[in-house]
């Protein structure tokens, strides 16, 4: 399971960075989304994946056993997902707006900020 996740995370990061380097605005956003998902899976993976070991202390025990499913990464991912959801929604509206104002989705043609005035 772990090795599978590692490969998926690697692919997501690679695909995300590749998409970000393209000239199209839409591909840029898709790249950012893929990168964000890669990071979320990475947090999930680093919380040690175990099956059927909830982090509950038994009635007869004083502390948690050796290996248990860490709940913190899941809380972190949840926060990160909500945040990236908002940011991506904003970014999509932004590129729509940019397409209307600049009338192109080619990043190479967005040079208005470099004009000398």
């Amino acid at each position: 399971m772990e090795i599978l996740l590692v490969i998926i995370i690697g692919l997501l990061y690679a695909a995300g960075i590749y998409m970000m380097l393209r000239r199209s605005l839409v591909k840029l956003i898709i790249g950012l989304i893929l990168l964000g998902n890669g990071a979320n899976l990475l947090i999930f993976l680093l919380g040690k994946i175990v099956k059927g070991k909830p982090p509950i202390i038994g009635a007869s025990e004083k502390m948690l056993g050796e290996i248990y499913a860490d709940p913190v990464p899941q809380a972190l991912i949840l926060t990160a997902i909500v945040i990236s959801f908002g940011l991506q929604a904003f970014a999509i509206i932004l590129i729509k707006r940019a397409y209307k104002v600049v009338k192109t989705d080619d990043l190479d043609e967005m040079n208005a900020t470099d004009e000398d005035l």
Binding site: M20, L25, L28, L32, L35, G36, G38, A39, L42, I43, L45, L46, G47, D70, V72, P73, L76, T79, A80, I83, G86, L87, F90, A91, L94, I95, R97, A98, V101, V102, L107, M110, N111, A112, T113, D114, E115, D116, L117
Partner: protein
Amino acid sequence: MNNPYIVLPVILQLFIAILLMFSWSSKNIQKLISVTGSLIALVISLLLLIKVDNEGIQIMQAGGWEAPFGITFVADTFSALLVLLTAIAGLAVSVYSVGSVRNARIKFGYFPIFHLLIMGLSGAFLTGDIFNLYVWFEIIIISSFVLLTLGGEKAQIEGAIKYVTMNLLASVIFLTAIAILYGLTGSLNMADLSLRVAEIENRGLVNVTAILFLVGFGIKSAVFPLYFWLPASYHTPPPAISAIFGGLLTKVGVYAMLRVFTLIFIPDTFLSTVIMVIAIFTILSGGIGALIQNNIRKVFSYLIICHIGFMLAGLGVYSTLAIAGAIFYLVHDIIVKTNLFMVSGLIFKFKGTYSMRLLGGFYKEHPKMSLLMAIPLFSLVGIPPLSGFWGKLLMIQGAIDQSNMLVVFFIILGSFLTLFIIARLWSEVFWKDGPELPEKKHIKYYNALKPLKRKAMVGSIVFLSLISLGIGFGAEWVMRLSIKIAENLMDPTLYIQAVLGN
């Protein structure tokens, strides 16, 4: 010391933003609430700094969960000082906005978002939890996205695309770094991380994580070679927004670097060399970039980059004196950069252009105003005894003590570049005889503004100039604070004890 009141600067800004949303339709009430709220925030932040300075580090454990299990807020002298500076810059920009921001922007919620941005900044300075820092960073960038695009002009949208992309990328890298760090240590509390990272045997992996943090914060604080989004976007929004961005946004990145690289990752030779090289190239590329620009706001944008290099150089040298210098410079830079962008907005209100080629004769037409504008300009250069001088002096002293002549050379070179750029700007904008400018219809010139708006714009510049002068002439007081902060950063035992108990 457990003290729940340290989050008051954050809560207050949230409260102001909510109040502003309730008075959405009335722009006058919004202005009143914003300025009064900022004034209260300034008083609270000042009280916080005095309390922290006298009684030591104050902490707040959210929900009563003991560190390292809950989210901790920590107000040490460094955090409290930066919260105070945020409040000062916030008040100045709030007053300046009253005079300069157009009604259309206010109608679309300029003031609530502005206060949410200040809330994010205060939160980022006060948190003691690395994931919580990420959350505050996100609050900062989402508010800054809205402020940057509010108005929707062509240049704004194009600038925003570059800004949004790079900042989202920085967040993902930051999140990746947090994930790996959590995997390595199983903790998120910064004080706890400080202890646990030191125990890890696989130093290679620790260094990789540190570099990820460096890249993430580096994009946010616009260091070489990750700064290209800054000059592409900072000159596009209205001057009030540029002012708060230029003064504070990049500085959060610098704060995060100073905190993380003194508390969690103690730089070894490799890491401090990397930081030093980045600092040198940042000084050079910022300085040279500013040399060739014609738009005064772009000149200031490149100067932000150049001076970020100074602070990074202080961190790279890594001695108490050098870090104290970097902190002194940070204090000076926040005030002066905010002020300079406001000055550029005022020049625009008089002349209707930002182009140095077209500007001119400002001194002949408005001698008093020019003298006022000279204060932030010459403070930036650091002519003694103005505020820019002392920070550099401390950094150079620190670098000489470590016999790090390369850094000394580049700090001096950077100062010369700044001097040359400001001298050129002064002679182009203020001294040379400018061409006659045609009246532009869509611009509301200074003389057409209501007296209250004029007073608001000039008043906020006077306020920040006075603080700049205060930092310069009262350098002893700021220096004492900087050295105290640097000592506590270099030896974080006090911080760790305050957070974790014994």
